[in-house]
Subunit: 361 residues, 2 copies
């Protein structure tokens, strides 16, 4: 088998020992806390990883796009939860097609008109669908507000005979990266208080609220201890990144790297072949050189990164292959077609990344 | 044929009328100025677009990665110039393979050791290769410095019997986005003065400097008028983006859009299904809603964008399809597998985007 230094660059390289550690740690935490795991596939977009999460006890997989649902359904993964609203065409028709393959696929709803459109499409196909209410607990993007707005939406959904309301999705993405475990815990508990109060109201109204889903990698070990939360949808824990490594209180290991080649060296500068197209650029920080001290990375163009070397004597030479921890794992994986899996330095497998841009596969 | 409103979202949509306008405008400028055009494919990563550039008079195509060279060589495009150093394996072996298909493929060199490695590999295959010196005229990434360092490198290259030194690549990426045509002109002329003086030195040393290549979309109509510059390698002009639209003095039309679906509306907020994975995020600004006033976009997660509506009465509703001008075209195209071509609202073609992450195809 190939050594990873022989790979074309830039490439994504997954250290399977660290990946296994992360999978096991999350499974143990969930089992110990008596909470279910439905990890989010938007991080990895990878069937092989979803399969391994299920093998380690996950009850299903969350997805962000209809294309992710289609691919996972086709490959036999069940217990899918689509955490984005399926609005308009062709999303609704594609959702109905997924239901034919994977009838237990769930979708979130935040709007009566959307519930009506889903009802019509599902009924026309002679099917039914399980839905969760998407609750906005502070992220300010999709979702219905807690309390009465959620109660009104629940009543609208119940009026749709082909839709089964079974719970609530209360993902608090705005809290995922709060620095410091205690500060994060306080924010997350406040968000959950609003969500759980709404669940009580919905139950009092007679709704069958079995599923209460949420939690990021940043809050997984906070939310697992909150009574009432039934499942965790964290995703980034499988890979980790510079951002999650910096918030404290999260004990997973960086497992996914970008491998790059040094293509130039002069004085205290080295240039690698990995730039804006090789790394996520949505954060204020860039990737982190792995196993090197006194070396920092700056973006230097679409296909170039500049390494600033504290000591011009640092032994980095053209042709060297270097690894970098990803700034932000989800959009970074989305830049690649495949993940090269290594044990030590040996490439033992290559896993495809499913469609990246949310369109069709 | 499909109407573009029926496409899955997020999708890349190319307005062919605007694209044709851009192709023609650049061809006319080059012809009028007596300068050759070897446009850069790192912007579009698209064989169909490279073919059309050649049909409109381009003498070849620039590429940034060996994978781009492989795909274009395989599809019959000639006159390729690889504008990044081919350092280490597997790049050098792949370059030799490209030479077997497309013997006129050129590559830049900035280091004697790299010249030696290319010489050895090319000679072992019984081939020869044309190379250009990569000159650092201020971008501070790859490239040899003008003057004596360039002269020493030229002598090193001439000592390699299978390498033919035929010119200089002096791309000044740091000047491409200087705001204001006059300010940009002054910066670009300064950079070219250094490059052209070095070309004179190289010629005095007896080197055969036929090709002097450079120019971005930002400086194309500045550099085309500079005596001595033999070819333009601008790329972004085919698509344009928010960034180039703001620098002044560049008369191409935004032609490439991301199509997104509105999936939520509440008050003065609307949410679209296009976020960090759908748009380039390397600039300080985001995408620009097309044909809408009083609407601005903010990133709201991997798969979400938030539209802030100045008037809460704005008629944007769930299910609407909206178009956005790309913040920065090159890394934005790199997020997609295909480009949907439209005339008016009709989808008339779909063009594949070649490998995105620089690895193999």
């Amino acid at each position: 088998m190939k050594n990873f230094h022989d790979l074309p660059t830039p490439s994504l390289v997954l250290d399977l020992d660290r990946f296994d550690f992360n999978l096991d740690a999350m499974s143990r935490l969930a089992a110990r806390s008596g909470v279910a795991l439905r990890p989010h596939a938007k991080t990895h977009k990878c069937v092989e990883i979803a399969r391994r999460q299920i093998q380690k006890g996950a009850i299903g997989i969350c997805v962000a796009t209809i294309a992710e649902a289609e691919v996972l359904a086709r490959t036999g993964i069940r217990g899918l939860l689509i955490t984005a609203e399926m609005v308009g065409e062709p999303k609704i028709s594609r959702f109905v097609e997924v239901l034919k393959t994977a009838p237990d696929t769930m979708v979130v709803v935040d709007d009566p008109a959307n519930a009506g459109a889903l009802q019509a499409a599902v009924a026309a196909a002679g099917l039914s669908a399980t839905v969760l209410i998407d609750l906005d607990v502070g992220q300010n993007r999709t979702g219905v507000l807690p309390g009465d707005p959620a109660r009104r939406l629940a009543a609208n959904i119940e009026a749709c005979p082909q839709l089964r309301l079974r719970g609530v999705c209360a993902y608090a993405g705005h809290i995922a990266h709060v620095i410091g475990w205690e500060a994060r815990r306080q924010s997350s508990r406040e968000a959950w208080t609003r969500a759980l109060e709404t669940c009580d109201l919905l139950r009092n109204d007679g709704h069958d609220i079995q599923i209460i889903s949420g939690a990021s990698t940043g809050t997984h070990n906070i939310d697992a201890a909150i009574p009432g939360v039934t499942e965790l949808q964290a995703g980034s824990y499988v890979f980790m990144d510079v951002e999650y490594s910096g918030i404290g209180g999260v004990d997973f290991k960086p497992a996914l790297f970008v491998l790059a080649t040094v293509i130039h060296r002069s004085g205290s500068k080295a240039i690698v072949d990995a730039g804006l197209k090789a790394f996520a650029t949505d954060r204020s920080f860039g990737p982190q050189p792995h196993g090197l001290s006194g070396v920092s990375y700056e973006f230097a163009g679409d296909e170039h990164g500049r390494l600033v070397l504290e000591e011009s004597s640092t032994t980095i030479a053209p042709g060297d292959k270097l690894r970098f921890i990803l700034p932000h794992c989800d959009p970074n994986v989305n830049l690649y077609d495949r993940i090269h899996c290594v044990r030590g330095e040996e490439v033992v497998d290559v896993w495809p990344v499913m469609d990246r841009s949310g369109g069709y596969f």
